[in-house]
């Protein structure tokens, strides 16, 4: 029998099984600590990718892992993304729990075939005889002078692909909780890390092994007049915008952090839309067929009778991602200013 392992056995060893200890740490440290805990707790977990070993990852997420876990479990692969994901799938099929790193989401395209046609479709095509418990980590997003090829936000392509799950933490706590959940999921999960948040975002992180379940959105702040629905770095930009607009207009703004793009928390989205009657969806990605389009379409379809204004979208323009030169980058990148402008229109509607 060749078979992917069951996830149930793998709870990370932790000094605080109740998860009540919380330490404030950066986003990157939350990810690193969680990866380390899981590597320690379960020898079936392996990490593979370009520069993940000797270099500890180009963002140093796996710094010193090679020393602790050895080069059998921390694999500096050749420069070949399709090979990385393909071998991760094979490892999972034969008893390991691989975490594959794609160095930048921009470079996932060569692996699209393995992700879409193999990982995502394996369970379905085999009528549940096989499954594919892999986690793919990738830094994404802009605003770091990464230019066209180190700034992309192409998560919508994966949200469009049944069989995958896609998560995007916006806080260090969710970084841990979602990663733990992804690592216990029986299906392939794409785990996206906004690279601008690695060292700029800090927050409390529980030490325990409590997961943040996939498919459950987070209420960032409650409000009654309008809702912003977003994810990733845009949660922080939206919060800035909402604070400014609230102060200015007295409007009470609700913010929902999707966290999980697939499965979507449709209930949380619709409940909030029905409550406030005004929805702004924000994504850093290009607009057409984006996650913002999906959420907007969903709200328009299922909460129509409750809407007091059109569902608005703020998204990147339909321009190939992110020019390098700072004035161009700023013009391209979605931020609090642009979100605030849309929000003011929505509130005034």
């Amino acid at each position: 029998m060749v078979q992917a392992p069951e996830r149930t056995a793998s709870a990370p060893a932790t000094t605080d099984p109740d998860g009540r200890d919380e330490t404030s740490m950066t986003f990157v440290d939350a990810i690193q600590g969680t990866l380390r805990d899981v590597m320690r707790a379960d020898d079936r977990v392996v990490i593979l990718g370009e520069d993940v070993g000797r270099r500890g990852g180009v963002f140093r997420v796996t710094a010193d892992f090679l020393e602790e876990f050895g080069d059998d479990r921390v694999i500096d692969t050749p420069l070949a993304e399709s090979g990385i994901i393909g071998s991760a799938i094979g490892m999972a099929l034969n008893g390991l729990l691989p975490i594959a790193e794609i160095q930048f989401l921009d470079f996932i395209a060569p692996a699209m075939d393995q992700i879409m046609n193999e990982a995502a479709r394996l369970r379905y095509r085999s009528n549940n005889d096989f499954h594919c418990p892999i986690v793919i980590r990738a830094p994404f997003g802009g605003g770091v002078h990464g230019a066209l090829y180190h700034s992309q936000s192409i998560e919508a392509m994966f949200v469009h692909t049944p069989g995958l799950k896609v998560v995007v933490p916006a806080t260090p706590a969710d970084a841990r909780g979602l990663l733990l959940a992804a690592l216990r999921d029986e299906d392939p999960v794409l785990y996206l890390e906004h690279k601008k948040m690695y060292r700029s975002i800090r927050g409390p992180v529980p030490a325990g092994d409590e997961i943040v379940p996939l498919g459950v959105a987070r209420l960032v702040r409650e409000g009654t007049d309008a809702t912003i629905i977003t994810y990733g770095l845009m949660v922080h930009e939206a919060t800035l915008a909402a604070t400014a607009v609230s102060e200015e207009t007295g409007a009470s703004i609700e913010i929902i952090d999707l966290r999980s793009l697939k499965p979507l928390d449709e209930r949380a989205i619709l409940d909030s839309a029905r409550k406030t009657g005004k929805v702004l969806v924000v994504t850093e990605a290009n607009r057409p067929c984006s996650v913002a389009s999906e959420v907007a379409a969903l709200v328009g379809e299922e909460a129509f009778a409750y809407l007091d204004a059109p569902v608005m979208r703020v998204a990147a323009p339909d321009v190939p991602a992110m020019p390098f030169s700072p004035p161009l980058e700023q013009a391209f990148m979605v931020g609090a200013g642009q979100i605030g402008t849309a929000l003011r229109r929505l509130v005034a509607f």
Binding site: V2, E6, R44, D72, G83, P110, N117, S126
Partner: protein
């Protein structure tokens, strides 16, 4: 579906698999199998001497013959069913059988992992799928064990038999196979992984990335190329600028071996040597069996536009099933009566399989959205 825990909690991971595991299938020490014959497939004559070298018991040779005829007969039946409108789409491995049976018998089918492609009816049959399984798949029945009727026929898979489910996408199985082999090595399971593909697949980037990774980590695996000279209509001369896919191994740091795929025992020898090397920890082999595709690419294809039918005739005249039959006759291991008996049994088995599949229910339409995710 439960999986044994594979690494001890005290981190006692086995860094390499156990060497010295015995070869299955009655073969004696694979190191004693003698030299690997390499032959020009169109001019080579099969030297009966190699039989003596094989060190195989008569019983094994007869099993090989039975497996060969079973595969050919089943394949022909499936093709006929398509031609008379009973199966909407089929793909055939006719012409590849000796290569596949030779390979299957050189591996440990109770332990090793097979990552096949759509031409591997004979290989998967020898590996444990049954004609009944195959017919359920051809007729897309609910009980089809490989996909419940969800995939086209020819997309073999079974976790129980360690046959990895494949897609239709050419060459994606190769990096997956390297991952399987990596896990086998890390976990110390002693498994050898064999992955099969056509010469056309060797043009895909995935072939390169898989071989490269396997070479670096000296993975216990075999890249088994069934070179039938065509990728649908594209002849080898437009697929490669070299004569042998096996020559690509030079770029990956492991041996490349060419073998006459019409010669079952030649393939057996070559694969057994590769298995021995892999099991010893000495890494992969790229093994290329020169075969020929007797049918069009699939039941949707018509090969007359692009393939000289004289070429087809010439290759069919060198049928590997007949070649092996003649050998065993010459060795006194088979006679008319034995052959007829084998064929009779196989025909009955295929008839039964067909009837059972025809009687089996189609999938319930309500199940179309099951198993996208766990528990769903």
């Amino acid at each position: 579906m439960a999986t044994e825990p594979i690494v001890a909690p005290d981190h006692a991971i086995q860094r390499a698999f156990q060497p010295g595991a015995a070869l299955a299938n009655g073969a004696s020490d694979p190191d004693d199998l003698g030299p690997v014959p390499i032959a020009d497939p169109l001019t080579a004559t099969v030297a009966p001497a190699s039989i003596g070298d094989a060190g195989l018991p008569a019983e094994t040779l007869r099993q090989m013959y039975q497996a060969l005829v079973r595969a050919r007969s089943l394949d022909q039946r499936i093709w006929q069913m398509n031609r008379i409108g009973q199966a909407p789409f089929v793909v055939s491995g006719q012409g590849h059988e000796a290569a596949q049976i030779g390979a299957a018998f050189a591996l440990d089918r109770e332990r090793d992992v097979l990552v096949p492609y759509y031409r591997d009816l004979a290989l998967c049959l020898a590996w444990g799928l049954t004609p009944a399984d195959m017919m359920l798949s051809v007729l897309a029945r609910a009980a089809d064990p490989t996909s419940g009727g969800r995939q086209m026929p020819g997309h073999y898979g079974s976790s129980r038999l360690r046959i990895i489910s494949g897609s239709s996408v050419v060459a994606t199985q190769l990096p997956i196979a390297t991952g399987v082999a990596y896990a086998a090595k890390l976990r110390g399971t002693g498994q050898v992984t064999i992955v099969t593909f056509g010469e056309g697949a060797s043009s895909e980037g995935d072939f390169h990335e898989a071989c490269n990774f396997a070479g670096i980590h000296r993975l216990p695996m075999i890249f088994f190329c069934e070179n039938n000279q065509y990728a649908i209509s594209v002849p080898q001369s437009l697929q490669l600028a070299i004569d042998h896919v096996a020559d690509r191994a030079a770029g990956y740091g492991f041996p490349g071996v060419v073998v006459d795929g019409d010669d079952l025992l030649a393939v057996y020898h070559a694969v057994a040597a590769a298995v021995a090397q892999a099991r010893k920890g000495d890494g992969p082999t790229l093994l290329e069996a020169k075969v020929y595709r007797y049918t069009p690419h699939s039941s949707d294809d018509d090969d007359r536009a692009y393939r000289d039918q004289d070429e087809v005739k010439a290759r069919r005249a060198r049928d590997p099933v007949r070649l092996f039959e003649t050998r065993l006759r010459d060795l006194g291991l088979l006679d008319d009566e034995a052959i007829a008996a084998i064929q009779r049994d196989i025909n009955r088995e295929i008839d039964d399989a067909t009837e059972a599949a025809e009687a089996a229910p189609l999938p319930d339409p309500a199940t179309y959205d099951r198993h996208v995710y766990a528990g769903g």
